[in-house]
Amino acid sequence: MDILNLEGTEDTPKIMLDKGNGIFEISGRSLPEDSAEFYQPVLDWIDEYSKEANASTEFMFKLEYFNTASSKLILDVLSALEDIDGMTIIWYFHEDDEDMEEAGEEFSELVEIPFEFKTY
């Protein structure tokens, strides 16, 4: 399966989705002009991956900031991951960033996937 690798920019996050090496990561800042357009390749990739997923997947979110339009798309990403067996979300937040911790908790209440919380 193809690797999806997008470099992060000042308004878009770094995306690394690599089934072979078991790396699934969205990190950095997310405030794109068009969040639906930006996340479409991610949703498409997950759709493909769900057909032949690894036995277990640790999907990592390590976001420094995301805007509200991105939060809707992050929920769409999580909803797509929800149907994959063996899925765990690793939600990173900076140790003094309560808002990012709370955002992760809220997402965990909206989908049926186990979340692990880690600080950096």
Binding site: L31, E33, A36, T68
Partner: protein, 176 residues
């Protein structure tokens, strides 16, 4: 040339550290954010305050970008950041059609009537049911601004007389 000094004095009197007037788009949003961030970095602002201010600025700016094209008059839009000893102020002003005033007012009043838990519930119910609009919004901007600032959103509509009004929005973020 006195207006130059007057403008300078108005900025000082209102503790404004940044004023931008004109066209709004994603590139300008990024530049304005970068300037405000540099200002907060150079003054050694607490990272938690910095994050909240950044958050409110993004939602405010992207709101203006999304709605800037709706009314075509000479009053495009303005964005300002103020900073005093106790708080940061994030202000935007943009033209809106008078027929949209009631809807906008209702939305903000609803948000201002809610406490922290109420805002969290509203946020969750919107995010579950919303679709991204053709303008790219999730309908969560004001809720998020209220949550991150922890304060009521101040607003005012200034009648422009051509069927439109200037919508002024002001949020404040406490410094620790």
């Amino acid at each position: 040339m006195k207006y130059i000094f007057d403008l300078h004095k108005t900025m000082l009197d209102n503790h404004l550290i940044l004023v931008y007037e004109g066209e709004f788009n994603q590139e300008i949003t990024k530049s304005v954010l970068a300037m405000a961030e540099r200002n907060m970095d150079s003054s050694g602002e607490e990272s938690s305050v910095k994050r909240k201010v950044f958050n409110v600025m993004v939602e405010c700016l992207q709101n203006v970008v999304k709605h800037a094209e709706e009314v075509s008059n000479k009053h495009a839009a303005v964005f300002m950041v103020g900073k005093s000893d106790k708080e940061y102020i994030v202000i935007s002003g943009n033209s809106i059609s008078n027929e949209n005033i009631d809807g906008l007012k209702g939305k903000i009043d609803q948000i201002n009537a809610l406490d922290k838990d109420g805002l969290k519930e509203l946020y969750k119910s919107i995010i579950k049911n919303t679709e991204i609009s053709d303008k790219g919004g999730a309908g969560l901007g004001f809720v998020d601004m209220a949550r991150k600032s922890g304060k009521k959103l101040d607003y005012e509509f200034v009648e422009l007389g051509d069927g439109s009004s200037f919508f002024c929005l002001r949020s404040s973020i406490e410094r620790l």
